[in-house]
């Protein structure tokens, strides 16, 4: 029998993998993909709890999270392209203008 906690633990594991990726990787595009992975883990949590509580509102929320994710990816990737055009790298530890 698959219960709510199974889904929540799976979503937590997916989120944790995204966290590892953000900390370990240095390529800005891969870090961005890890953020998408974390967003998906949160969406899975929303859907699982909506199913458990027999409420449809969780699915509406996931719909809006996907909208925001799409907008975020469009702008974020444009920023990455501009950074690459100006500095010929997208390694996050070489982009340190704000570090001072």
């Amino acid at each position: 029998m698959i219960t709510l906690s199974h889904y929540l633990i799976l979503a937590a594991a997916l989120f944790t993998l995204g966290v590892i990726g953000v900390f370990v990787r240095r390529n800005a595009i891969v870090i961005f993909m890890c953020i998408e992975l974390m967003l998906n883990a949160v969406n899975l949590t929303f859907i699982a709890i909506a199913h458990h509580l027999q409420a449809l509102e969780g699915q509406i929320f996931v719909f809006f999270v996907m909208t925001v994710a799409a907008a975020e990816v469009a702008v974020g990737l444009a920023i990455i392209v501009v950074i690459f055009r100006n500095r010929q790298t997208i390694l996050v530890d070489e982009i340190d203008l704000l570090k001072g």
């Binding site: 929540l8 900390f23 390529n27 595009i29 509406i60 799409a70 975020e72 444009a78 997208i90």
Partner: protein, 170 residues
């Protein structure tokens, strides 16, 4: 039967998510991420969220990942791959520590008893009458109409912003 599919797609999602994080080439990471999205869409189907499952495949595995692949192919990332091979040890320890911390914070299953005991207004029989998609659409165009319109403005702003960034300055 549900258990078989849950462990199959959940396991595949975890494996491919690990590949996203630990593959050296960004293109391989992107491919693994597409596979992860498909597995999560299958899990949505198990949770009776058909509309969201289809949207997941269309928007995430389709549109968003195509954007990622386009950018990866546009940029010439050979130097990045070499640098990624050697790792900063402090960063790895920090990543491992944060991972353990996040997992411990996210999995207090015993706290589930604090979830409200009441059920929502959409029992399975009610959804079965006309289908999941119809109910989602009804909610979206009645109770959640304002957020829906705001989301469209957000997408417009994102398009304008992306074009502005990508424009070549003379």
């Amino acid at each position: 039967m549900e258990a078989v599919f849950f462990y199959l797609f959940g396991g595949l999602a975890l494996i491919s998510a690990a590949l996203v994080v630990f593959q050296r080439k960004p293109v391989h990471s992107a491919m693994a991420l597409i596979f992860t999205f498909f597995c999560i869409a299958a899990l949505y189907l198990l949770l009776e969220a058909e509309f969201i499952a289809v949207i997941q495949v269309l928007v995430y595995a389709g549109a968003i990942m195509v954007l990622f692949l386009f950018v990866i192919m546009l940029l010439n990332l050979e130097k990045e791959q070499e640098v990624e091979a050697g790792g900063d040890r402090f960063r790895k320890w920090l990543g491992g520590f944060m991972a353990v911390l996040a997992f411990l914070l996210l999995t207090p299953v015993w706290a589930l008893q604090m979830l409200p005991a009441f059920k929502g207004t959409f029992p399975p029989e009610k959804i079965q009458e006309v289908g999941n998609t119809v109910w989602v659409a009804r909610l979206l165009f009645t109770d959640y109409l304002l957020p829906f319109e705001v989301a469209s403005i957000l997408l417009l702003a994102a398009i304008v912003g992306a074009v502005f960034f990508a424009m070549k300055r003379s």
